[in-house]
């Protein structure tokens, strides 16, 4: 689906800095934000704030919303600027941005700028000290974006057992930070330069957000409650109820996929096609390996190129048939193909972060500080959610965790629970050092899935002082204690 939407050209400048002129022209006309709704981020001219002399670059308005995910299926939720997902915000690394947020809800809200290395006062976490936005209030947020890459913004309030709060609703949107002209500080920080290896030209660019709706509690296999959903959508529409992504044989499409689920990891496949992984959590990877399936934990982002070399009409969708039937999928339609969308199960589900790391892992100097963090759960009944703990404590109780600026830290995520956890560190990114005892390097993340019963190690040199929230990005886990506030010494 070609689009001339000016906000849609994007990460191409990050991952394909050496595009040919022909590719550039193709991109400029075909790049699209594949969502049914128009982008509603109000540009500067439209976002005038009467009470401020300086106009905001963007205005986000949080309000209740009735949203049709399929003909006859409407959900009641809250969202940004009356659309799902919220508008794509395009920022430039190093260039200060002003964003006004208007809270039209009857509850306090807060917006977290996920993946950004910004001060705690604006990061969007009340635990770090960001002020909440009172009902009916307007607040102005100013920060200097870094690092570049594909990030997102979303609400960061607790939901507990209320499915109308937190990430159970529609308060999420893409935040795209393009690198500044010239050498990027964050690119330097990546220290791998792998991202500079051009993935080559692409013909279309699409942004896809996974989310589920109408949550309810069910019994889980591990004996405690968990959250299930009636519907799933990509960009706010159920499978089969959105315009297909129209492609031509031989084209390369760049997919930017965000899992904005409150609780569910997702596996995606596109039968007959492979994904060439270009970036994880917005950070280009050293090895652009090709895979048959994608795994995204809540809050993870994947940018992948797909060569359209298998004509037909296909479902890009969840590998779990129940979730796919609930709506988690999109249709890829080759020009001239009119058949019913086809789905074939992948042979297996496989995902290993190490496949995208350095071919030969760099074993760096011995870390100055080893910081083991042990994740455990406490059973609270078959009719209750588990209580979660880091080092034996549930937030707000916690053992002191301290970063020392400039020193090499080795974060050791030791998951002793029976669940996988998407672990998120605010205001920083870390480099994966080992997965289940197997070394890796070159993959930078701000969210990493630590599978049940395994250990993931990551390297970090803290350089962004201030309180830093560390938590599982599963809403129900975060709500029930899986969180810690890290302080700088």
């Amino acid at each position: 689906m070609a689009s001339s939407n000016p906000l849609a050209s994007t990460l191409g400048s990050l991952i394909a800095p050496h595009l040919s002129r022909r590719a550039f022209l193709r991109r400029s006309t075909a790049a699209s934000l594949w969502i049914a709704s128009p982008l509603a981020a109000l540009p500067r001219a439209q976002a005038a704030i009467q009470n401020n002399a300086v106009l905001a670059d963007y205005t986000l308005e949080i309000s209740e919303l009735e949203w049709e995910i399929a003909p006859g299926k409407r959900i009641h939720t809250s969202a940004y600027n009356g659309q799902i997902p919220g508008p794509l915000l395009r920022l430039t690394e190093g260039k200060p941005v002003t964003i006004d947020v208007v809270n039209r809800l009857t509850r306090p809200e807060i917006v977290h700028w996920h993946g950004q290395w910004i001060p705690p006062s604006v990061d969007g976490s009340m635990e770090e000290g960001t002020p909440m936005i009172a009902p009916g209030a307007r607040t102005r947020i100013q920060f200097t974006p870094r690092p570049f890459g594909l990030h997102w913004y979303h609400t960061h309030i607790h939901a507990n057992r209320d499915f109308h709060l937190g990430l159970y609703n529609g308060q999420f949107g893409f935040l795209l930070v393009e690198p500044s002209v010239g050498a990027s500080s964050s690119a330097r920080a990546s220290s791998r330069d792998g991202w500079e290896a051009s993935p080559g030209a692409y013909d279309q660019e699409h942004f896809l957000v996974l989310h589920e709706w109408d949550a309810y509690f069910v019994a889980s296999d591990d004996g405690s409650e968990e959250v299930a959903y009636r519907y799933g959508t990509i960009n706010g529409r159920m499978l089969g109820h959105a315009d297909p992504i129209s492609v031509r044989p031989g084209q390369r499409i760049l997919l930017h996929i965000l899992n904005a689920s409150a609780t569910l990891p997702h596996w995606l496949a596109l039968p007959g096609h492979q994904f060439q992984i270009v970036a994880l959590d917005g950070r280009p990877v050293p090895t652009q390996a090709k895979v048959d399936t994608l795994r995204l934990g809540p809050a993870e982002r994947i940018s992948a190129l797909v060569t359209m070399d298998h004509p037909g009409v296909w479902i890009l969708g969840e590998t779990d048939p129940e979730l796919r039937d609930a709506g988690l999928g999109a249709v890829i339609e080759y020009a001239g193909s009119t058949s019913k969308p086809q789905w074939t199960d992948p042979a297996s589900l496989s995902w290993d972060y190490r496949a995208f790391g350095d071919a030969t892992p760099h074993i760096g100097p011995k870390p100055d500080i080893a910081l083991p963090l042990v994740f455990t759960s406490k059973f609270q009944g078959h009719g209750a959610l588990n209580r979660w703990m880091i080092d034996g404590k549930s937030f707000p109780d916690q053992v002191p965790i301290t970063f020392r600026q400039g020193l090499r830290h080795r974060l050791i995520f030791n998951n002793r629970s029976m669940d996988d956890h998407p672990i998120h560190l605010h205001r920083h990114a870390f480099e994966l050092a080992s997965i289940a005892g197997k070394p890796t390097s070159g993959v930078y993340k701000d969210v990493v899935i630590v599978r049940a019963g395994t250990v993931v190690e990551a390297n970090l040199i803290p350089d962004n002082p201030g309180p830093t929230l560390f938590h599982c990005h599963q809403q129900d886990h975060m709500d029930l204690g899986f969180m810690a506030l890290i302080h700088y010494a």
Binding site: Y216, S348, S350, F379, G381, G383
Partner: protein, 335 residues
């Protein structure tokens, strides 16, 4: 989650074949009096051990109509003979939860129930329950996320009879889907089946069983206010019987839950039997939640009324089997 635990903690129900206990409600003479009168005939224990307490309408009518001694004796004789019309329950002792078996899944359960102290004598050719070992195989196939069909094979083994096939039942069941988000689990089961006259004179019976349950924190409760009807047998004319069951349990930890299960038969819904004549059973019971694929339940039941088997030991061992095409599963950690 408002159904039973995912590991099938309390799904299931009691086998409710039709029966007739000569309750004398309305006749001015309770089963205790019957028992005293019948002691010399060795029927007292037999009567007291009946699982069912439904009144025998003809006897009541006669008793009311006359009230003299000869009629009393006539009633007693009729009632005594009708006592043999009782059926032997204890084939499946389980309180249903609202949860149904998932589609493409077969639940196989073995119900093993031993009557440690029960009815010791034949009554008009109907076998006693004392020291009877009842083995019931229950096969339940999930149809979709809101329905299932169960099938039962009842057997009995006891001294003098050996292993015997007792009968079969079929049990479709529907539920309110979890996705509706109701605060309690709600399900409706209906069961139709045949049992041999050696074990129940009411050979064809039907039951409808509403089910309501809730899991809240560590607590679980379920209520099954079952109604039953005889289609073929002496109880055809007795109308609808009321046989509630209930359960409450507490999760001591993730793997062990314990509580009480209650089973009763109040007789005809239009003619509730006296307490003495009702069947009442309390089972302290334990559920072991060792795996999502296994269901383990164990209990010891006390029947405090004269109409109930005194002691029963029950156990349930269940295993889920999935079949058909399954979606791909994540590979173990690593490439």
């Amino acid at each position: 989650m408002h159904s039973s635990h995912s590991w099938g903690l309390v799904t299931g129900h009691g086998f409710i074949p039709s029966a007739a206990f000569p309750a004398a409600k309305g006749c001015g003479l309770g089963a205790g009096a019957f028992a005293r009168l019948l002691k010399g005939h060795d029927f007292s224990r037999a009567i007291a051990s009946q699982k069912r307490t439904r009144a025998l309408a003809p006897a009541q009518c006669l008793f009311h109509a006359r009230g003299n001694l000869s009629f009393v004796f006539l009633c007693l004789l009729l009632l005594a003979s009708s006592a043999a019309l009782h059926a032997q329950g204890n084939y499946e002792i389980q309180v249903y939860g609202a949860e149904t078996v998932a589609p493409k899944t077969l639940m196989v359960e073995l119900h093993s129930n031993f009557t440690a102290v029960g009815q010791k004598y034949y009554i008009d050719g109907q076998a006693p329950t004392n020291h009877a070992e009842h083995e019931t195989v229950e096969l339940t196939q999930g149809i979709n996320d809101w329905s299932e069909v169960g099938f039962y094979i009842f057997t009995s083994e006891q001294s003098g009879l050996g292993a015997q096939w007792v009968g079969d039942h079929i049990r479709p069941r529907v539920r309110v889907p979890e996705s509706w988000g109701w605060p309690v689990g709600v399900s409706l089961s209906t069961e139709v089946g045949y049992q041999r006259a050696l074990f129940s004179y009411d050979t064809w019976t039907w039951e409808i069983r509403p089910i309501v349950d809730q899991t809240r924190g560590r607590w679980y409760w379920a209520v099954n206010p079952a109604l039953e009807r005889t289609w073929h047998g002496p109880d055809v004319n007795l109308g609808i019987g009321f046989s509630p069951a209930a359960k409450i349990s507490y999760d001591f930890n993730k793997y062990v839950s314990g509580g009480f299960e209650y089973y009763a038969d109040y007789g005809s819904i239009t003619d509730i039997a006296s307490l003495h004549d009702q069947q009442q059973q309390i089972f302290p019971a334990v559920d072991l939640n060792v795996s999502p694929n296994w269901e383990i339940n164990f209990g010891v039941g006390l029947g405090p009324t004269a109409a109930t088997d005194r002691w029963i030991v029950k156990g349930i061992l269940g295993r889920r089997f999935t079949w058909g095409h399954q979606p791909p599963q994540p590979l173990p950690q690593g490439p």
